[in-house]
């Protein structure tokens, strides 16, 4: 069964550094998403992306965050200047249409030191 894949599984970064989290959505999916989950808390929506542009973003997704689909397969989340509170599990998801279920990757655990 097709899967969403995320790399790396764990990323450790110094505060203030830039970090890029990578995702390969399911190949025939057109809608892409990022969520985050701070340890012990619920999953929170960050951004949705369709047709090469952001469709919706949450209050969490401020100017430090950006997303990109640099080629036909990858979908990336960049945090420009990381803060301690960015430490979380980041999940990428994709769906075939906007109303079909979102399929999640295994997540990237981001640790900011």
């Amino acid at each position: 069964e097709p899967e969403v894949t995320q790399t790396p599984s764990h990323q450790v970064t110094q505060m203030g550094q830039e970090v890029i989290l990578r995702c390969v959505p399911i190949s025939n999916h057109l809608y892409f998403y990022w969520y985050r989950q701070i340890l012990g808390q619920k999953v929170e929506f960050l951004v949705s992306f369709y047709n090469n542009e952001i469709s919706e973003k949450s209050e969490i997704f401020d100017d430090q965050f950006s997303v990109e689909r640099p080629d036909g397969s990858n979908f990336t989340l960049k945090i420009r200047s990381t803060k301690l509170e960015d430490s979380a599990m980041y999940f990428c998801a994709s769906s075939a249409t906007g109303n079909q279920p979102q399929h999640f990757g295994d997540g990237t655990r981001l640790s900011i030191l």
């Binding site: 619920k42 999953v43 929170e44 279920p101 999640f104 295994d106």
Partner: protein
């Protein structure tokens, strides 16, 4: 704004028995989608079941079924014949349809219920 509430932080069940996880939500929308996701200790988010609000029939997926009560805004998950592999965090989620006036894929999650299946 929509909210999702899971009132049971933790539950346990004996293997082979049945357990029901509760979820309520608040919305003024008439059309929407509801989901249950499972997150085992490996932390991958796995879709368990999906319900479309305009469908009166409760969704079923093998041992998993829902009791969708639209008027009460309730969406409980029943797991029959519980297995050790069902041990996980279970999240209820709500989504408005994609499009004008709706969300653009914003899944709103509850805080989760930690389910332990005991041998």
């Amino acid at each position: 704004a929509q909210t999702v509430t899971q009132s049971q932080p933790e539950m346990s069940v004996q293997e082979a028995e049945t357990v029901t996880l509760s979820c309520t939500y608040d919305t003024s929308e008439n059309n929407y989608y509801l989901f249950w996701y499972k997150q085992p200790p490996s932390r991958q988010m796995i879709l368990v079941i999906r319900q479309e609000a305009y469908k009166q029939q409760n969704a079923t997926e093998n041992r998993f079924s829902v009791n969708f009560q639209k008027a009460a805004k309730s969406f409980s998950l029943k797991i029959s014949d519980s297995q050790l592999g069902d041990t996980a965090m279970y999240f209820c989620a709500f989504m408005k349809p994609w499009g004008n006036g709706g969300s653009q894929g914003n899944l709103i999650f509850g805080k989760g219920t930690k389910l332990s299946v005991k041998p």
